[in-house]
Subunit: 393 residues, 2 copies
């Protein structure tokens, strides 16, 4: 497609007008002075959607965001017993069990260790669990809003574990949060020694309370519930603990009657963020935009179909493309006013291709799709310009 | 230096204690449910410092931030007539002058064009203008806090100018802001066609009012005042307009009596962010951390001296290292308790090395250093552990 042609078509927007210079100087705005904390414009009304009878979830408005950083206030939330208010003076991280030298570390202690920063997504394993739900249309955030991205800073867990030393039979760590639910997950030592981070900062400043202040475990590419918030204890052992959150929850019943457990890694996925419900399209040129990510590495390719899967075109990937990170994609599209179906399909650097729901059901059974449902999503564009979520079985 | 040794030394922090498992389960925090907007912890008190008799500046607390993203609320501010409250319904961007087809574009129009995102710094040309000021010690933010970094999203200005078409004699653009000061700057067409962006989003959401809501001009690597906020007009001409902000202000008197004008590009610089005043150091291992950036490309190397310039060691650069972007550097350092002077020195990908103030004065004269003073900064560590800013002439 020729860009020149694309741009020429864009001016059919209706507001392109010939102007005389003298018409620009009439409105001038005087305002208040600088402030110690900036604020949002009163003309913008972005917020998370609450979910769950007990307001245990808050969902990121993916359809309204740009780029790859999620504002910290809009990072999705999933709590098992609310948001604790923890004073860093009274909080410590304990590391004990099959180690040579147990450790008790304060936030201040941790800040003296060598620091690392990493921009990566955190996604709840249950994201898109309402993929098959029929009912009233909702914005994308209520279907796929349990993924968000921040620049996290902290200490590599490997740094701390080299400090404690690991005994020969050390195979698993129990990560325990300081909330009332005492959320606990068993984490393989290999991941802990690879790229795990004890994070104390998010997007430049202290982690927000709802994200685990003062400390959270960050396991890049792994399901959100394993990135234990308000982390206060790591116990090293020789086998997993079989906690509630890895037995009753966050496991995947397969079609052969067995249960898939410790399915930590978030599979490759893409979502179109615009146009989505409740967009109202006009004929002409649009940019289809979205996010793609993989818990197994970098996104290599995103393809978009504007005819329900008949043809696929590669989208542009916005640099930098980071490993285990939301990656912005976009592609221009000229809508001719006829009903059609928009789809996106991501491929990661390992060659894994985002599956259809049918392929997922064939491989694992429909019972497995409460968690780790990374199937292709569809957006039906009606001839009246409305855009509706559509189950792509 | 052997990491193993470093880590062993870190445990001299005083809080390392042997523990029994049963001591971890006594405190559990119940809290409120999820919220539509997250908040900061009440235990964190970060804010900008106001500056100027009329509160025309607000300075970023660089010494307290992590990673490379500045939270939008903490992005530095510099206003010439306060923060206008502009309704996007009443705001347009006009492009006219030496073009074939003038344009009037609303925020909604601009959002339909192909979008780009870019993470880069914006720095005031007057950052570090108090470099030589003697007086009471202040945190780093009051010396160097007029630089901040965001992920910006918008439309490439080249896309819009291809749409209007440029006449043969088009050489400069006048960029005009919608504040009461009508801040105006002349911008060369070459920069406009290269990497300039009309930005509508910052760190994922709408630009903040104090950063130019609804639209700002982003000129990556160029001085902040040229990145005109609340932009409402671009007039294309064949010569610069010689506005107040490029004649009476933002020019550099040189030692030969001439004036350097249109010195847009922010030169390569680094600042140590920790330890800085009012840190109070203990003997032992620390991590020296800082930021480096260049308006001419990527940072290639940052060297740190812990003996006042006698020896220089390369610091680690945190990936991703982006062009015209704050780049985080860090290096471990064992303080022996004796008085010393800490310095950092950045080199960009073009081989440009951050100068000393003496070199700057030799080249341009001391009168030029109100703007574009990118000289090396010093932090004196006293034997009592206090850390004081020191002029490095």
């Amino acid at each position: 497609m020729k860009r020149r042609h694309f741009l020429k078509s864009m001016t059919a927007l209706g507001s392109t007008t010939l102007l005389a210079t003298q018409s620009h100087g009439d409105i001038r705005y005087l305002g208040p002075p600088a402030r110690t904390m900036g604020t949002r414009s009163i003309h913008e009304q972005l917020e998370k959607t609450l979910y769950g009878q007990m307001q245990t979830h808050a969902l990121t408005p993916l359809q309204d965001l740009h780029g790859i950083i999620t504002p910290s206030e809009l990072h999705f939330e999933r709590h098992h017993s609310g948001i604790p208010d923890i004073s860093p003076e009274q909080h410590h991280l304990y590391i004990h069990g099959l180690v040579n030298k147990p450790l008790k570390l304060s936030l201040q202690d941790l800040k003296r260790f060598p620091s690392v920063s990493r921009t990566c997504f955190i996604e709840c394993a249950g994201n898109c669990q309402d993929y098959f739900k029929k009912g009233p249309q909702t914005p994308l955030q209520q279907i796929a809003g349990m993924t968000s991205q921040s620049e996290w800073t902290g200490v590599k867990l490997a740094t701390l574990l080299r400090e404690t030393g690991l005994r020969k039979n050390a195979k698993w760590l129990l990560a325990e949060g300081g909330d009332a639910a005492l959320v606990t997950r068993s984490i393989p030592v290999d991941k802990a020694m690879d790229d795990a981070i004890i994070a104390y900062a998010q997007n430049g400043e202290a982690i927000r309370p709802e994200q685990g202040y003062p400390l959270r475990l960050l396991l890049p590419g792994w399901e959100g519930s394993s990135c234990v918030k308000w982390i206060r204890r790591l116990e090293v052992g020789d086998q997993p603990w079989m906690t509630r959150e890895e037995t009753a929850k966050y496991t995947d019943p397969l079609k052969d009657g067995t249960i898939r457990q410790f399915s930590f890694i978030m599979d490759t996925r893409s979502v179109i963020t615009t146009p989505t419900f409740p967009s109202q399209l006009e004929k002409g040129w649009h940019e289809i935009r979205g996010l793609a990510w993989s818990g197994r590495g970098k996104i290599k390719r995103v393809e978009v179909s504007t005819d329900g899967g008949g043809h696929w075109q590669p989208a542009r990937l916005q640099e930098p493309v980071l490993s285990m990170a939301h990656t912005r994609f976009n592609i221009p599209w000229q809508w001719n006013g006829k009903e059609t179906l928009l789809l996106s399909r991501a491929t990661d650097e390992n060659g894994y291709v985002q599956p259809t729901a049918s392929e997922l059901i064939h491989a694992r059974g429909i019972g497995s799709l409460r968690y780790h449902n990374n199937g292709i999503m569809g957006w039906r564009v009606k001839s009246d310009g409305s855009v509706l979520y559509e189950i792509v079985a």
